[in-house]
Amino acid sequence: MAIKRREFLKIAGLTLAAGTGGLTTFSALRNGILEAAQYNRDPKGLKGSRWGLVIDMARFQDSKAIQKISEICHKKHNVPTIPNPRHEIKWIWQEGFEHAFPGQESPYMADTMRHQPYLVLCNHCDNPPCVRVCPTKATFKRADGIVMMDMHRCIGCRFCMAACPYGARSFNFIDPRPFVKELNREFPTRMKGVVEKCTLCYELLAIGKPPACAEHSNGAIVFGDLKDPNSEVRKLIASNFTIRRKPDLGTMPSVFYIVSGKEERLGGHEHAG
């Protein structure tokens, strides 16, 4: 069966038309975004180049004060309360001195300082080891210094948990939603198989509000830009003795603790850890 020249050209033409049509549809789906549309930042959003926190531990001598802050945070972010400690999820919690600042304790340090609880959370390190090990870039460093989690990308390998020297990350071994007492319907939960941690309330910063812990601490937690020499955090760090968690590891944490000074109970002033 021979094919005539005319027929061949017809078929070739139709194939070409179909192919081009298909290609257009394909590329519309691929680049998909309408050209006139664009993305913008909320102009109300806070701008900074390295967000950090200064925590005045004199104001958190009572573990109830810490509990209150962590409840507010966990409620806001739908962090589940799971009774089994092996499945526990935490964003902000309390530790003893020897766990928060190992190597900096001494047998002669003030009792209050040694026995008081310490408020700990993700340090949003300048040199975050969790980001280095993440194989999918699910955790990444934002330009403003926040070590962010993209839950959509997390594959649950838990390398970041092994890398984080602060234990700031929790893995969802089970579906967390049944354990969230009261859902905040404006924020998502997480699903089984992803790692989560504090995100420095990026969703609040984006609309011009400080992180929830700082906002509800009556000034005991101060939030600000560490790169701005005139910021309140810088002034506090310059005028108080502050320590950071495990600074010798070179992660350069962005959370500073004022551990000595104001309160009488410490009995002295200088505690050069």
Partner: protein
């Protein structure tokens, strides 16, 4: 030829098995999906207009949601300026579902028909609706 009978019986059984979905569903037409936009918020709108045109949303909503999530989570950009110049907060849970508060009749209607299972709702909280 040896075992002709067995071979033909075998082929017949095989075809019967393979074609099972076809004759099992024969004559049972599945209803065409009809996503509904009958929600209180949409009904109150003067001009029923989504973020982009209906056709764009139909063909590209999945791509758009993907781009939105990257813009918000990775680039910290939360405002979508649509083709018509209006600004929207890019949020599945707070913007999309605020109007489309009928997930079952809006999202699931087509997704179930097409057997696609987006995992949005593993984390994002779906709107409350009566069963």
């Amino acid at each position: 030829m040896y075992d002709t009978g067995k071979i033909f019986v075998g082929i017949a059984i095989f075809l019967l098995f393979v074609a099972f979905p076809f004759y099992y569903n024969l004559g049972k037409a599945v209803a065409k999906p009809e996503p509904s936009i009958d929600t209180p918020v949409i009904n109150q709108m003067e001009k029923r207009q989504c973020v982009e045109s209906k056709q764009t949303m139909k063909t590209l909503h999945m791509k758009m949601l993907n781009d939105w999530r990257d813009a918000v989570v990775r680039d910290g950009q939360r405002l979508y300026v649509a083709t018509d110049g209006k600004s929207y907060n890019m949020s599945l849970q707070n913007t999309c579902m605020n109007c489309h508060s009928n997930k079952k009749k809006f999202c699931d209607e087509c997704h179930n028909y097409m057997a696609v299972k987006p995992y949005c709702w593993g984390c994002h909280i779906e709107p409350k609706e009566g069963a």
